[in-house]
């Protein structure tokens, strides 16, 4: 298992795309922190980038990688190896490689310019989002045999988490305007890792007062230590659930 992970990591790191991704993140994060003296502002812009770019790159890259290594997977399956180990190693390899890229790309700038709780949450959330979207990509890839269709599903999923979900939330908010929705919103936000991450970071920044202003419940829940721990547990669940579903499918899949 370790050997396969190592092979996958080396294979990905040799891939120029991941290096380009690292450099892109590095350039963006240094650029944003240098743009403004106020590091909290830089962090805010960085958050927007992390919440858009990281899921997009992770989900598309992972999907393509899984399709491209289908022959390699077939080769491994013919060996006396458990399918579970093969799939987990593939996931582990991609996740570790992309996390490393994110950690180098964003982490360095964060450690240099703004070593604050908010920045650390941003870093942690970014790493979790990387892993979550790798898991989701694996799920999308394992359910479709056709590469183009698989990539299409991945892009759609990204669009859903970044945009469509928020649109639905807005729709619900206005349809059920007459009901107290604050508590429900806390639950709903945990249905989308991107939203959950955004709220977690925002509540560590100055602008949290704006959120507390309208619904103290966000702050009372997400702002406290238990709230943060629960949110991180939910994010971990977001890794586990797609991974478990994709593994179940892969175990029975006729390659």
């Amino acid at each position: 298992m370790k050997k396969i992970i190592k092979y996958v990591i080396v294979d990905i790191l040799r891939n120029k795309i991941v290096i380009a991704y690292t450099l892109l993140l590095l350039a963006i994060s240094f650029g944003l922190f240098n743009l403004d003296d106020n590091t909290s502002k830089g962090l805010l812009s960085l958050m927007n980038i992390v919440l858009i770019i990281v899921p997009l790159i992770c989900i598309i890259f992972s999907t393509i990688y899984v399709y491209n290594s289908s022959e390699f997977i077939e080769l491994l399956v013919s060996q006396p190896l458990q399918r579970k180990h093969i799939w987990m190693s593939l996931f582990g390899g991609i996740a570790i490689a992309l996390s490393l890229a994110f950690f180098i790309g964003v982490g360095i700038a964060v450690f240099i310019y703004s070593f604050t709780p908010a920045a650390l949450i941003l870093l942690g959330v970014g790493l979790l989002l990387t892993i979550i979207f790798v898991a989701i990509a694996l799920l999308a890839a394992v359910y479709t045999r056709d590469k183009a269709k698989g990539i299409g599903i991945s892009v759609l999923l990204w669009l859903y988490f970044s945009l469509i979900f928020d649109g639905l939330v807005l729709f619900i908010l206005f349809q059920f305007q007459d009901y107290p929705l604050e508590k429900l919103m806390v639950v709903i936000s945990s249905l989308n890792p991107v939203d959950l991450s955004r709220i977690l970071i925002l509540l560590q920044l100055d602008v949290s007062a704006l959120m507390g202003y309208t619904g103290a419940i966000f702050k009372d829940f997400f702002g406290t230590q238990t709230g943060i721990i629960i949110s991180f547990v939910v994010l971990l669940l977001w890794i586990w659930a797609p991974l478990w579903a994709s593994l179940r499918r892969f175990n029975r899949k006729d390659l």
């Binding site: 928020d166 807005l170 939203d195 959120m211």
Partner: protein
């Protein structure tokens, strides 16, 4: 000759009035208590108090005297008494340090209290750990100048106001520093007064709080870091010039909260880093001009109950939301500078050719449905704002600045 003698005699008879005496109060001397000195003095005399600690329970100033402290003699209220009660006109109180007044939830115990008197001057005193600081009750034409007040408020109930004025007229409150009280400066039924160059910071509730106080002028004060900012209600003829409202940041915090304010003028003020710069509720005929709104959450919030307000020639810089409203309002915006303005100026007259709509769609959504704040800074919210900017449809049509400045206005 006879006339001369009569003059001399009458002169001698009047002499106590003419040659006011000076009493010196000093520890370990014949005259060691301030109250004792007041009792033997007559109107117009001066009492000098030498350095030392005087724990005299309650000092009753019931004659028109001048009380001067040398190098801040300490008057200790021992956590149980009102330290100085002024019950005479024309009293001057200068240079004392008052500490540890009593605390009570039944009566308003103050460091210095004026009971329905005129022409009292209180200046250059230090008040430390007083329940109410300086309390003016039905006072007229008094001067409160250069005092430093520091409370140790912990809860709303267990704290009093810094400078508390009730049913007063023609006051001048100048250059005081107030911290750690419930409200820094509190007015109720106070008229025709000037509040100038005070600093009110880190108070439990409001930096400045007034109700039913008409025709007062506030100039060059600094209200900073108070728990709920500044709140002014039910008054008309309020003039506010060149004040600074700063760092009133937190849930339900305002730079200034105007409730039922009419015919007022707010000019030259700076609103920096407040959750809400100005929140107007039921404000009518208020002119807001030449102010700077910088780095606030909401620069201006206008409730639908406002009427005929004018907001012109202001700078809006780096606010999360410029204007929010919950209705289609009938107030006018013109000649402001908005840093979010993206129009052009073809005829180079420094005024943008395209009108600016300061209300963003997302701020409308939040005003109508506060829970939508959960989408704050999401891609969805940003996109909605952009689309609305290009094709305005939902945001109030008449909330528009037809003459937006291209560059920040030099105020």
């Amino acid at each position: 000759m006879k006339k001369f003698i009569v003059i001399i005699i009458s002169f001698l008879l009047l002499s106590p009035k003419v040659f006011a005496r000076i009493y010196t109060v000093q520890k370990n001397s014949a005259l060691s208590s301030i109250q004792q000195a007041i009792n033997i003095a007559t109107n117009g005399d001066t009492i000098m108090v030498m350095p030392g600690v005087y724990a005299e329970k309650n000092i009753q100033v019931n004659k028109s005297l001048v009380l001067i402290g040398k190098s801040f003699p300490v008057l200790d209220g021992q956590h149980s008494y009102e330290i100085i009660s002024i019950k005479a006109d024309n009293v001057i109180l200068e240079g004392f340090k008052l500490i540890h007044s009593g605390i009570s939830s039944l009566i308003d115990i103050a460091g210095i209290k004026i009971y329905a008197r005129k022409n009292v001057v209180i200046k250059n005193n230090i008040l430390d750990d007083t329940f109410f600081g300086i309390y003016l009750q039905k006072a007229v034409n008094c001067l409160i100048e250069n005092n430093k007040l520091k409370g140790v408020a912990t809860t709303d109930q267990q704290s009093g106001n810094g400078i508390h004025c009730w049913q007063c007229d023609s006051l001048r409150i100048i250059g005081n520093t107030i911290a750690g009280h419930r409200d820094g400066i509190y007015f109720e039924f106070v008229t025709n007064s000037a509040i100038w160059r005070n600093v009110s910071h880190a108070n439990m509730r409001y930096g400045l709080h007034f109700m039913f106080s008409h025709e007062n002028t506030y100039i060059g004060n600094i209200f900073k870091n108070n728990n709920a900012g500044v709140s002014v209600m039910f008054s008309h003829g309020v003039k506010m010039f060149n004040n600074i409202f700063e760092d009133n940041w937190g849930d339900g915090c305002y730079g200034i909260f105007l409730k039922e304010i009419t015919d007022s003028y707010i000019s030259g003020n700076k609103f920096l880093r407040n959750t809400t710069g100005i929140f107007m509720e039921g404000a009518t005929r208020v002119l807001v001009e030449k102010n700077e709104f910088s780095k606030n959450g909401w620069a201006v919030k206008i409730d639908a109950s406002c009427l005929d307000d004018t907001i012109r020639i202001n700078n809006f810089l780096g606010n999360s939301f410029d204007v929010a409203t919950n209705g289609t309002l009938v107030s006018s915006f013109s000649y402001n500078y908005w840093d979010k303005y993206e129009g052009y100026d073809l005829n180079k007259n420094n005024i943008g050719d395209v009108p600016y709509h300061p209300v963003s769609l997302f701020s409308m959504i939040v005003a109508e449905n506060p829970s939508a704040m959960i989408l704050f800074r999401s891609i969805m919210a940003t996109m909605l704002d952009k689309i609305e900017k290009i094709l305005p449809g939902i945001t109030p049509e008449n909330l528009v600045d037809n003459f937006p400045y291209m560059k920040p206005i030099h105020l």
